[in-house]
Assembly symmetry: D2
Homo-oligomer: 138 residues x 4
């Protein structure tokens, strides 16, 4: 995400005093989106997909919510913090739920273990962003 960092540093907009935390959250969401999309596909192609159906469902949800959360955080012009904070909260919750489900399959499906790591990193980054962002203004 080297381009993202440079674009932010030359942008007139700023969502929070510490933009490194926001950048790290965007990056963790983006990585988690890709990991979940890949894990859903690997689960779908597994010899017994029936055992992985809840995992696939959560992977799809997590990928969609991560993508939207990354997009919202990337927009720093005229940020309305109330819904932004709610969106990050939803992202932390889905990453926690998806990560827990993936972890339960990590012993038999290595891809689920790797995805659980990406989910955990995303959840942590969202929690850190929530602590860094100013309180809701509107």
């Amino acid at each position: 995400m080297q381009h993202l960092e440079r674009i932010f540093s030359s942008s007139p907009n700023r969502i929070a005093p510490d933009s490194k935390v926001i950048e790290a959250c965007i990056e963790a969401c983006a990585e988690c989106e890709r990991a979940c999309a890949a894990c859903a596909d690997a689960c779908l192609g597994a010899p017994d997909p029936s055992q992985l159906r809840k995992c696939i469902r959560l992977n799809l949800d997590c990928a969609d919510i991560c993508d939207t959360t990354a997009r919202i955080l990337t927009r720093q012009f005229h940020a309305s913090l109330r819904f932004i904070r709610a969106q990050i909260e939803a992202c932390a919750l889905v990453a926690a739920a998806c990560g827990a489900e993936c972890l339960a399959h990590a012993g038999t499906h290595r891809h689920c273990g790797f995805c659980a790591e990406a989910c955990k990193r995303c959840e942590d980054a969202c929690r850190k962003a929530l602590r860094t962002l100013p309180s809701a203004n509107a």
Copy 2:
């Protein structure tokens, strides 16, 4: 959304006892996504886009969040209500923020007035879905 209704009625999955409320919420989110995307484009092409920059920003956020919320609600298999409720809450908040901003421009830009209606309908449908869905289970 006639296909959606028929697919739901023949699906083995059910997220809530009253699926009509969920369907209405998905439809309102989908309509709001399209309205916001179209409003952002109309604002961008306006003679003086500078006055509409906050509106464009909120339109883009609202479109992304609406799409993701509609997707999450469409998945009814093994629903984890805690993050689903958080996602609907984020959607209600962004629709309220975007609708308020659009309404402020409705006098000079008719497309903003139409978009404000779609946002209001989406916000109401999200609030109704939150009242209908069972409490968070996980």
Copy 3:
């Protein structure tokens, strides 16, 4: 999609002389996105999801491509027709592939039959849009 129609009619931008065809294409893509997302979920919850794995995969692809195609067509300001036409072409192809797979399961899974109809309508609307849009300019 009543809001979309009214927003377009009050927008300063126009992608094609006949905006009804573009609106119909956006609506068909939006409906197909929702149908495919719902069909993927219904397939995932079916007693034997293994037989429906290819269907799920194509449903997910079709939903993503439909959403993006609808967004691209909604933006009418400064349209660059070369990639827009390529995106609609991709949408027509995925709708055809997904519709054919769904049709193969329509006898045993009614939701697949309904989804196949949404795919067919989307494919036809994309083909009609391609005939209506001016040739690529850039």
Copy 4:
């Protein structure tokens, strides 16, 4: 994208003999999506957004198409190459169009220059993926 690489290496599915090229394309699309979303926001907040309206429009299109293309390529189970190739082609075209527009503003807006680099890298990665993928089978 370390998680993505590891998930792919433990997945039962494979879209092409050389998965490194596909991974590189997914990564370039993901990076370009984030760069374009950030560039659109920076343009929107610029002192004179009117000069950057075509850039914003293309940024939004490029971000959407990049995200969908990355998702399609991430799904390697039962890949239908005909529409996948069409989607990558659309992505190469929008990245070229967006990159050219960004480059025209690089002298006055540094973020546009950085975004142009991400677009160029994405376009090249798409072209390389098209050369690597087998011909369309369906």
